[in-house]
């Protein structure tokens, strides 16, 4: 009996120390960060930067590259096919559902879509991304921005899945004097629930680089985007 009590107490102390240790590390991580963009990767014409702000758990990632494509072509690839599950899977291979909440229109320059992503079942529930995509062009600089933000309250939640509430990815398409464009994407997303944010922080730079280097050219280069016209974008 005494040895059980002793063993129990020892386990309690070890558990408490581990909790305090992990808690302290999490607190230190939360408070850390320069709030400045730091270059993480520069390969194949794609630069990836990371930014950690004090008070935030998630690291943001910014991918940058120059391209011969047009601003309209890139913007069209982000707006015109969002109703299609096939398109969702091209961007995110684990996409298993695509529901149109507010259809795209030239007038509104955007849409609202509910994407369902598989996320390591059965460990984590599937994630629902109910996102509002909205494009806008600065009339002076001609820079086009496309904001993709979580708008989780547009529909009641589904039991199947966890709806992501923190997501704001922002594309910035800047025409350059050389005739090329600069494509920038800031990614700032948390998967919510018990998904460990440190996995996003660890893998984010590589994933951001892969998106630009490997995936993006194939998607944007499709015929329907090369010939697309958007009335609110002035080249």
């Amino acid at each position: 009996m005494n040895s059980v009590k002793k063993y129990g107490k020892r386990s309690l102390y070890i558990f408490a120390i581990l909790i305090l240790l992990v808690g302290s590390l999490k607190w230190l991580w939360m408070m850390s960060g320069s709030g400045e963009w730091v270059l993480k990767k520069d390969e194949g014409g794609v630069q990836v930067y990371s930014l950690k702000s004090p008070g935030h758990n998630i690291t943001q990632f910014k991918s940058v590259m120059e391209s011969d494509m047009t601003v309209t072509q890139v913007a069209a690839s982000l707006l015109l096919e969002n109703h299609s599950l096939e398109n969702c899977k091209k961007w995110i291979p684990t996409c298993v559902g695509d529901v149109v909440v507010e259809p795209y229109s030239e007038n509104s320059q955007g849409d609202s879509i509910l994407w369902t992503l598989e996320l390591l079942p059965p460990v984590f529930k599937n994630r629902e991304f109910l996102i509002r995509t909205q494009a806008a062009q600065d009339p002076d600089t001609k820079v086009v921005s496309v904001d993709i933000t979580a708008a989780s309250g547009k529909l009641p939640r589904n039991d199947c899945c966890l709806r992501v509430t923190q997501a704001h990815n922002r594309w910035t398409l800047t025409p350059l004097d050389s005739g090329k464009i600069r494509i920038e994407l800031i990614q700032d997303t948390s998967m919510g629930g018990f998904f460990p944010d440190f996995l996003i922080n660890l893998a984010g730079a590589d994933e951001a680089h892969k998106l630009f280097k490997d995936l993006l050219p194939g998607i944007i280069g499709q015929e329907q985007y090369r010939t697309a016209e958007l009335s609110y974008v002035d080249e």
Binding site: L12, H56, Q60, K125, R170
Partner: protein, 238 residues
């Protein structure tokens, strides 16, 4: 002497045991809390014509709140209250702790949205909070119900030093016309204050604060000059 030392040692051991137990208990309680919740709206407060419901969903640390009340405001008046009220004076006069406001994207009737940055002071040692939100208005053509989604767009501009910019905010207004000049107002709050702000404070005070916002603050925001006479092409009354 030896007995005294033994007594001190026993007291110290007990103290360490209690502290360790509290640490473990707090940890386990927070995990159980996060996993808990029915995912259903439950009535928490009903006073002076305002009902406040809360919902705790598994996987979320914060509760959501829904406030409901009947009003004598028209749809146009209520939408005007959102579109026309983004001024620094209004912010300071009607929103507790508001110290600054900046309109980043003016209201656009094609996009049906605007983007505004609000700054709130919090109690030390917490840093001020920046709430950068995009509002998006939508009206159902058949039912005439107007919904206004208010969601965080924290990366619209670079973050400012010495502040915490909220990244989790998903609020919503739903205005349901009941009769001419009468509207049911629903306000949904789903957010946290970010950084080290203790979520349990939001969970404890959320129902009362939602009530105060609808019952006490909203009339002040809506009774500004000229709002009641506003008429928008994109909002149809019953």
């Amino acid at each position: 002497m030896e007995t005294e030392n033994r007594k001190k040692s026993t007291k110290t051991s007990k103290f360490i045991f209690v502290c360790a137990s509290l640490v473990v208990l707090t940890f386990v309680t927070s995990k159980v809390w996060k996993s808990s919740g029915s995912g259903e709206w439950e009535l928490e407060l009903e006073k002076n014509g305002v009902e406040v419901f809360s919902m705790k969903s598994p996987g979320s640390s914060v509760k959501q709140y829904k406030g409901v009340m009947q009003s004598d405001y028209s749809l146009n008046h209520l939408v005007a209250g959102l579109i026309e009220n983004s001024t620094l004076d209004n912010c300071k006069n009607n929103i507790p702790n508001c110290v600054d406001l900046q309109v980043l994207d003016e209201w656009d009737a094609n996009l049906m949205s605007d983007t505004v940055l609000w700054k709130l002071e919090l109690f030390p040692p917490l840093k001020p909070r920046e709430i950068l939100i995009r509002s998006h208005v939508n009206q159902d053509e058949v039912t005439k119900v107007v919904s206004v989604d208010i969601y965080g767009a924290p990366n619209r501009i670079p973050r400012n030093e010495n502040t915490v910019r909220l990244s989790y905010i998903q609020n919503k207004w739903v205005y349901t016309p009941v009769a001419e000049g009468q509207t049911q107002i629903e306000f949904y709050q789903d957010m946290n204050m970010g950084g080290l702000f203790p979520d349990f404070l939001l969970n404890l005070a959320g129902a009362d604060e939602t009530y105060k916002f609808l019952h006490d603050q909203l009339p002040g925001l809506l009774n500004n000059d000229g709002l009641s006479s506003k008429k928008y092409d994109f909002i149809a009354e019953l």
